[in-house]
């Protein structure tokens, strides 16, 4: 019931502020990885975020840039931060990703590293303590897929951390830039689906 309440609250909050165009019709929680790129958005300052576990879907706007990390904020004050497209923090989701390493993932995506690597993710406990989840990950370039007229490369990053196993998916364009992704936040939140515009 609690999760229903949160879901309803978040759903209501998001529905209240999200433009009609960005809502999924009927919006059943999607199981597969589906990102619809919003072509009407101005270049590179808008993005869409879905949280399948909560049935949430909202546009986010670029709020700040610190070095190579961009922070995007939704109208209901949830933020996500991406280091060159790799998720390094969320805020406002409750069970937030407080911080994460991205260098190894970026190196693997660029084909600069092979084999298993480590990904460190930081969380807060309910008792205000810091806790870490250290995952062992490996990257595989799976296939090329068509998005509209262009082709993108699909990469799957498979990670295991204690009782948790997750697969992050990144699609990169010809220049190696991440144009969309599905990335794991925490056991409670599950995945975020991020679609870059333009």
């Amino acid at each position: 019931m609690r999760s229903v309440l949160i879901l309803a609250a978040i759903g209501a909050a998001l529905a209240a502020c999200a433009p009609i165009a960005s809502r999924l019709p009927g919006s059943p929680p999607r199981t597969g990885v589906v990102v619809e790129i919003d072509a009407s958005a101005p270049a590179a300052s808008r993005m869409r975020v879905q949280i399948p576990s909560r049935g949430a879907d909202a546009p986010v706007t670029l709020a700040a840039r610190n070095d190579d990390v961009e922070t995007w904020i939704a109208v209901d004050n949830i933020s996500i931060s991406l280091r060159r497209g790799v998720l390094v923090a969320t805020r406002g989701l409750g069970h937030d990703l407080m911080g994460a390493g991205a260098e190894n993932t970026l190196a693997a995506l660029a084909g600069l590293a092979e084999g298993e690597y480590r990904r460190q993710m930081r969380y807060l406990t309910g008792d205000h303590r810091t806790t870490y989840l250290n995952a062992g990950c490996s990257m595989a370039a799976v296939a090329t897929e068509a998005v509209g007229a262009s082709r993108v490369q699909r990469h799957e990053e498979t990670c295991v951390a204690r009782d948790h196993r997750f697969t992050n998916v990144f699609w990169t364009d010809g220049t190696g830039r991440i144009v969309r992704s599905r990335q794991w936040v925490s056991p409670e939140v599950g995945y975020l689906v991020l679609g870059m515009a333009g």
């Binding site: 700040a64 004050n77 930081r122 406990t125 205000h128 303590r129």
Partner: protein, 710 residues
Amino acid sequence: MGGKVRLGGGAAGIVSAGLICLAVASASPAAAQSRSYSWDYNSFGVPGLIDMPSALSRPDGELGLGVSSFADQTRTSLTFQISDRLSASFRYSFLYDLRSRPNPTGKIFPYIFDRSFSLHYRFLDEGRYRPAMAIGINDLLGTGIYGGEYVVATKTVTPQVRVSAGIGWGRLGTVNGFANPLAVISDGFRVRPTDRGPQGGTFEPDQWFRGNAALFGGIEWQATDRLRFVAEYSSDDYARESPTAFQRKSPLNFGVSYRYSDRTTLSARYLYGSEIGLQLTYALNPKQPRFGSGLDPAPPPILRRGAGAGLPEGSNLSRSLAAALAREGLALEGLDRQGQTLRAQIRNERYASEAQATGRAARILARLAPEDVGVFDIRLAANSMPVTSVVLRRSDLEDLEFHPVAPDLSRAAARIVDIRDRLPVVEGRYPVLSYGLEPYVLPSLFDPDAPLRLDLGVALYGRYEPRPGLIFSGRIHQKIAGNLNDTNRPSTSVLPRVRSEAYLYYKEGSTTIPELTAAWYMRPGKDLFARVTFGYLEPMFGGVSAELLWKPQNSRLALGAEVNYVQQRDFNQLFGFRDYKVATGHLSAYYDLGRGYTAQIDVGRYLAGDVGATVSLSREFNNGWKIGAFATKTNVSAAQFGEGSFDKGIRLTIPLDWVSGRPSRTRLSSDIRPVQRDGGARLGVSGRLYDTVREKQATRLDATWGRFWR
């Protein structure tokens, strides 16, 4: 036989809202039950089977609330898993048709309200072949109706099946009892003395583990994630209840439990061959709020110098900072620039965590400070009294914002010290006026005529601070509905009636002024904090109160002194006074025992003029939960004190943000006493220094520094 809950005026209003939220938040998808924890609470609120205990414990920190009923007997229990091994339960029970003695000659009471307190300690962990073992005492401080002790062993046979067996004394040694095996140690164990003190409420160690013993046992089968079946052989013959309240025909009990959610369990039992029993258990863990780290809005991102930080030319720094900080729930009280360092004195009005308030302030400073500022000195203040200075390098904030181990690195680079001096006051900050309306609830527990009474109403509160540290504040209560005024138990106290005439305060006047004071907060020296409060200090007393606290940063120990001269207020809680006057005060020592356990000892003179000491032990969680117990012994004899023999109770503090997920500094706090008498009563003045100061000091900031980045 009366008992009261006293609530600080400010906290009272939110109690009901909090409880409602707790109830609403109760259901959630089931999580797999761990093997090493007890699967449920028994009908006494002890980890166990149906009526019998088992040897395992509940998860550390869990708070279980249980209501169990059968055969005209209802037990309400509150159990706290104090540590991994030790749990304590407080029980309030209604028993009908009970005999005064466990034999047919006993007089039959139509009903009795009974309070009891028990402990359960697991002294041996389960091994591959070895069972877990626990020892327990079921009625430590009560009337002895539930008096019984046990040693029990539990073995997990398969992941779904557990078997328990134990030996019981007292009530738990009454079915097929045999001579006490402890008699080999001493003949004194052979016979159990029957008499307890006339006032109850005292320890009776000369009864524990005495008299006949008997064996009990049972088997539990966790059939599915949610469904559990239990069968037990009970060694309690219910001689005081059977056959007056019900017919006990068999020692065997059978039960089924359904775990509705990870917090709520429903149980049904067939008891003693004749009765159906039901139990509802609600268990929560302070370490596991529903909303994780909370639904607090995202903080403002840090802007780097040269990439957006700083203000446009000609902007007013202090005004811009004050406005930006106010959006984050922080008030800017003072501001000062010296060379590369920008100092800001901050009052946190929104966050339960001072580390989080510090982090938000740091972000704002990093966004708006001029580019040539390289160091921030953030000063955390309470009632305009500076407490702690946190010095941070701006470049650390810029570089660590998204670092995977940012809390460790940023804390290592931060300097946290005591700070005494106020910064130059920000123009336009003082005077500060705030006021508002809020609902309030005033409960009274354990009155024999009605175990729960309530008043509901509206409170108008106001606070005016004309200059830093000088604060006028007050509350007006308008009762809207309630039945506290139905209480009609004239005090029988032989002491000055400083608390036992509470019912007269409830009866007179529906518009009251529970609090109206002028207070002055100051820093007389390094590590020293002081307060003077004058006025109507609490609903029953007015006068003057002065306090001095010594609390160095990073110290386990703090010492305090408080002196008060007060006069009893009129029952209508307006401006008049009654004749009784008293000088009361205490010397206090506070000690942090580590791992969240704290101890406090107060020695001094109490409201009724009695002299003695209070010992308090608490477990605190970083998120603001606090669960503790206190006991006061003064030079008043048990007979003079009356029912309960001495003052004691449980103190419970629940942070509102834990319940709602929304940032809030409000905490719901209440003292639950089995009975409120006049001995060992303390003045209830607001603004005591220890808790206010400590939450802003280095030790607490260190433990919660992860929230700096939240």
